[in-house]
């Protein structure tokens, strides 16, 4: 169980459930997601704004977006 869970920074996908339909890619305003032929949905952390649109549109519910991590203490 849960073997397919892939956790990125603040963004999680269940690769076992994902059907690679690309709906999440289509709604992602900053193009932080890409559907690649090799590795399923590719997540580009630097572009993600944690808006959760991908989570909402997913017909299966296999994406979870967490709030952005608190910034590190200033030096």
């Amino acid at each position: 169980m849960d073997q397919g869970i892939r956790q990125e920074q603040g963004w999680t996908i269940d690769d076992d459930k994902c059907l690679r339909c690309g709906a999440c890619v289509g709604v992602c305003p900053p193009l932080a997601l890409d559907l690649t032929e090799r590795g399923g949905i590719h997540f580009i952390e630097e572009k993600c704004t944690h808006c959760t649109l991908c989570e909402k549109v997913c017909p299966i519910g296999c994406i979870k977006v967490e709030p952005p991590k608190a910034k590190q203490h200033a030096h």
């Binding site: 059907l19 709906a23 999440c24 890619v25 559907l35 032929e37 017909p59 299966i60 519910g61």
Partner: protein, 403 residues
């Protein structure tokens, strides 16, 4: 059998929109490449697979569809309103097809190839090449990879036929990101060994409990085989599309007993048509340009029709050697005249449907006949719908917005 390094037009994505555009461009003498990132054109299917006879006629495909590209001819529909009232729409003759999309898409791409386009699968476009010309930015090529080889192509125009994802179209600079309020979340099983009321009719179930802001469909692909699917709004309901569909199937013994032979899901653009679909050296077609009927979510015919329009515009651009956004804007004008204004009317009908309560939907099922429902799906007779809505004071505002 080698991808060249210079073309008039590079079409990105070999779905119906891309193949139609490439075919028309090639027919009109343009040197055309049609590139598909998937290993096999037509797979995976992300579609309910319905195509109306009107689209088949408009596309000149009457009597031309090879038998293997469709599973079933359709002569009408059975629509259930939320309270279970049944409206039967029977044309007594074939008014549509349930396709085998993987065969259909392959057939369209083959046609493009036979007309002279160079078609290549497993070819991914990763970057657009942009150049400055006369102080303006033009898209003048693409970079990508085929198997493990990188390539670059120079061209006069790139066509974004890259579907719901629309990454290339957005990288080009069109503001075509799907908005949640005009995107449905779809899920579907292709099932076999199920029972159907009438294997020549689409069966549609409405109701906010079974499918909020959408409906459940059964699209027959034979006597005991069908696409059983659901489309719901994506604005955040308690369950996912898959969970709603599973819950509904659990209540249907004749469906539940069947087997699942394919699972399909996807986002469905249902409105938010683009006023502008072109840039210097670029145009978008099909789902990438949200060219879908917002009531039934059908986009195959729309994509192909738009592709033909775009093919002609690109051929004219070639003649004048002008691929500027200004020249390509003819595509905007023609598409809006031929399709967009009608589809915008359909979107208005949709906006009503998603705002009214189940009991209002029941009232519509009591008041509207099958023919009117079909007309509304094609953006006609909105005044009839408005008249029915006006019967109820609380719906007056929605009614006046229609006319």
């Amino acid at each position: 059998m080698v991808l060249g390094s210079e073309y008039d037009v590079v079409v990105v994505g070999a779905g119906p929109g891309g193949s139609a555009t490439a075919r028309k461009c090639a027919e009109l003498g343009l040197k055309t490449a049609l590139l598909e990132k998937r290993q096999e054109i037509g797979i995976p299917v992300r579609c309910g697979e319905g195509l109306s006879i009107y689209a088949v006629q408009a596309l000149g495909m009457v009597d031309k569809l090879p038998r293997q590209v469709y599973a079933q001819e359709i002569d009408g529909a059975i629509v259930y309103s939320p309270n279970g009232k049944k409206v039967v729409i029977d044309f007594g003759e074939t008014v549509g097809y349930i396709l085998e999309r993987k065969m259909y898409d392959a057939w369209l791409a083959q046609q493009a190839a036979r007309k002279g386009a160079y078609v290549q699968a497993k070819t991914e476009i990763t970057q657009l090449v942009k150049e400055q010309k006369n102080g303006e930015t033009y898209i003048t090529g693409v970079k990508g990879n085929f198997e493990s080889d990188d390539f670059e192509i120079k061209c006069n125009a790139v066509v974004g036929a890259d579907g719901v994802e629309g990454r290339i179209t957005r990288m080009a600079g069109l503001r075509s990101t799907l908005m949640l309020k005009t995107t449905d979340s779809g899920y579907q099983y292709e099932m076999v060994d199920i029972e159907m009321e009438d294997p020549r009719k689409l069966i549609i179930y409405f109701g906010s409990k079974i499918s909020p802001r959408g409906y459940v469909w059964i699209f027959p692909k034979g006597d005991d085989r069908a696409n059983v699917g659901i489309g719901i709004g994506s604005m955040g309901y308690e369950k996912t599309a898959k969970q709603y569909l599973d819950a509904w199937i659990a209540t249907q013994p004749g469906i539940r007993k069947g087997s699942i032979v394919n699972t399909v899901c996807g986002g469905i653009p249902v409105g938010g048509f683009l006023k502008n679909m072109v840039l210097n050296g670029f145009a978008a077609v099909g789902d990438a340009a949200h060219q879908v009927n917002p009531i039934h979510g059908g986009g195959i015919g729309e994509a192909q029709r738009a592709g033909y329009i775009l093919g002609h515009v690109l051929a004219e651009a070639k003649q004048k050697n002008d691929f500027s956004a200004k020249a390509l804007a003819t595509y905007n004008e023609r598409w809006w005249t031929e399709r967009g204004n009608m589809l915008r009317n359909v979107e208005k009908v949709r906006e009503v449907m998603e705002k009214i309560a189940d009991e209002d939907m029941d009232m519509l099922a009591d008041s509207l006949d099958g023919e009117t429902i079909m007309e509304l799906c094609h953006g006609k007779r909105l005044s009839v719908l408005a008249k029915v809505l006006m019967k109820k004071p609380s719906l007056l505002k929605l009614a006046t917005a229609l006319v």
